[in-house]
């Protein structure tokens, strides 16, 4: 429960604070903030998790894609991405210049698609690990695997042999028993699990009876889901021996400490970065201070 260096799936990390997939685009942020961002002393995360990619390019969901709540937000982004080819050509070179290890998040709708993705990504030297997104509530296919232990087991059995690099399985919170999914991932050789993804939610357009979001519904993130995450992380960490990346509503050092106390090895910061691009660095500093007190 400190902010010191930590080993995660054989990767040495400077500290336990990373980002949640899809909540920080290091290439875009570098355009905005300049090369200051990628100086080792400045980069807010000890490893970088890229936004989920799919085999083919996706435009993402129609707007509006955002809804704000008092302590969080709903997003229905819909996994816009350039597809694996676009990613490898346009995004990976920039991500390879980051001062920290790189974890690439991938999502497919079948074992074959995951295979395409893993084969395309894992061999690249810039890539230190992969996160398998089986939990995104915005894309129907995402839920099929992540809701069923048997599906998760089958997927991991199929793709585990493809690479020796760490495979992290990202879990959805929208199930009765996340432990069962985590156990299945572990049984089939996942190196780690990460949770929670966003919680299914909907907003009604003000002055109307219709859903606000272009896609109808989306996923809730931010402080509102924090204690839901602590619960699921604690349950999963108690049940599996592989490391757990805990996330959900982390805004302060004490939130990170709570997830570490619940059994997480790393903590990911998502929505908090939207309010404060260096939230990760601040949270890490606050965590270090808590660890000393």
């Amino acid at each position: 429960m400190s902010a010191s260096p930590v080993e995660f799936c054989g990767i040495e990390l400077e500290h336990p604070i990373i980002n949640g997939s899809g909540t920080f685009d290091a290439n875009a942020a570098r355009r905005v903030f300049g090369d200051e961002l990628i100086a080792a002393a400045n980069f807010p995360f000890s490893a970088f998790v890229s936004k989920t990619i799919t085999p083919a390019p996706r435009p993402g969901n129609p707007p509006p894609r955002l809804w704000e709540e008092a302590a969080g937000m709903i997003n229905s982004i819909g996994l816009p991405n350039k597809g694996i080819e676009g990613f490898l050509e346009h995004d990976l070179p920039g991500l390879g210049e980051l001062p920290v290890p790189l974890i690439v998040s991938v999502m497919g709708t079948s074992a074959e698609e995951f295979t395409t993705l893993i084969e395309g990504v894992a061999e690249r030297p810039e890539v230190d690990g992969l996160e398998l997104n089986i939990s995104c509530p915005n894309v129907h296919s995402g839920l099929i695997v992540g809701e069923q232990p048997t599906e998760t087991l089958a997927l991991l059995n199929a793709v585990r042999p493809l690479t020796g690099k760490p495979l992290i399985v990202k879990l959805t919170p929208n199930v009765a028993d996340p432990v069962a999914i985590a156990r299945a991932a572990e049984a089939a050789g996942a190196d780690a699990v990460s949770l929670i993804n966003t919680v299914k939610a909907r907003a009604i357009a003000p002055g109307s009876s219709e859903p606000w979001l272009g896609a109808g519904s989306g996923g809730l993130s931010g402080p509102a889901v924090r204690v839901i995450a602590v619960k699921q992380v604690a349950d999963v960490a108690e049940a599996v021996a592989i490391p757990v990346v805990g996330m959900g509503g982390v805004e302060r050092g004490s939130d990170a400490r709570d997830l570490l106390a619940a059994g997480a090895t790393l903590v990911a910061v998502g929505t908090a970065s939207f309010r404060d691009p260096l939230a990760g660095a601040r949270i890490r500093a606050e965590l270090a201070e808590l660890a000393m007190s």
Binding site: G34, L37, P59, P62, P64, E68, S208, G214, G222
Partner: protein
């Protein structure tokens, strides 16, 4: 630091400014803060703003910061002063409107793509027409100043709904502007685009660039008008944003070529030909 398209890069992270004044202006307010660490922004760029305290509370929004175009950036003896023009339309703007001198304003910026001119146009010779309405005066004020200092021949047309929506006029104190108001309280009774049409169709037909910011319907009229006449135009758009620096993909605006752009990094200033319409899409905007 300045990017290829003239964008000024932001200091890394979020910083605390001190509010120096917050005064009513028409139905709007002009919020000013001293930015000691920040660079001078380019016209058309924006900042993400949040009140240091009193942001939310009683289990109410706002939670996220809010985007505001910078309206003026003046070097004073106390440092760079940033001016924002804002209207109290919801909980975020309400909290900002209530800020008092000396209080903290959390900002990230300058952000986004500023106004520019197509390579093939020599703006200094061809000149520019600025067309603004309502809160859209903000980015045009700083643009007018920048182009004016460069000596670009300028014509400015401003439109208002009514007196309650006529704030920000003092940002154009200096200069001659053409006015239109829907209720006729000032200038031409009608739309500012009536004035633009007359200008484009008359002997003053522009070989230069039209720069516009204002309500979606106005922008859409400007866009169509320019497209029909083959006049280059740039529009400063708005859309809800969570982060402002490309992190969330929430600020999608449909592209004419299909797909979406992230308005916070690929805008907020867009070429008229990049989009199919300046009207916001989606059920949400009916409300």
């Amino acid at each position: 630091m300045s990017g290829a398209d003239g964008r000024v890069q932001a200091p890394l992270g979020r910083r605390r400014l001190t509010v120096s004044s917050n005064e009513p202006s028409g139905g709007y307010r002009i919020l000013s803060a001293l930015d000691e660490a920040g660079p001078a922004p380019a016209a058309g760029q924006f900042y993400m703003l949040a009140a240091e305290s009193g942001w939310g509370g009683n289990a109410e929004r706002p939670y996220l910061p809010r985007a505001f175009s910078v309206a003026e950036a003046e070097v004073t003896d106390k440092g760079l002063r940033l001016d924002f023009l804002l209207e109290d339309v919801g909980p975020g703007t309400h909290a900002l409107a209530a800020l008092e001198a000396g209080e903290g304003l959390m900002v990230t910026g300058p952000l986004g793509r500023p106004f520019s001119a197509p390579r093939e146009i020599n703006l200094d010779a061809a000149g520019a027409i600025l067309v603004g309405g309502g809160l859209g005066l903000a980015p045009l004020a700083i643009l007018r100043k920048a182009l004016g200092e460069r000596g670009v021949p300028l014509r400015t047309l401003l439109g208002f709904r009514d007196e309650a929506h006529s704030g920000g006029m003092e940002l154009f104190r200096c200069c001659e502007v053409g006015l239109a108001s829907e209720d006729g309280h000032a200038g031409h009774r009608g739309y500012v685009t009536d004035l633009l049409a007359a200008m484009l169709d008359g002997d003053q037909a522009a070989s230069g660039v039209v720069y516009s910011c204002g309500p979606p319907a106005m922008l859409e009229a400007v866009r169509t008008m320019c497209a029909e006449r083959g006049v280059a135009c740039e529009l400063a758009l708005e859309t809800p944003m969570a982060c402002g620096f490309g992190a969330c993909f929430g600020c999608a605006v449909p592209l004419a070529e299909g797909g979406y752009m992230r308005l916070c990094v690929d805008g907020p200033v867009v070429g008229g030909n990049q989009i199919e319409t300046a009207m916001p899409a989606g059920s949400g905007h009916r409300g």
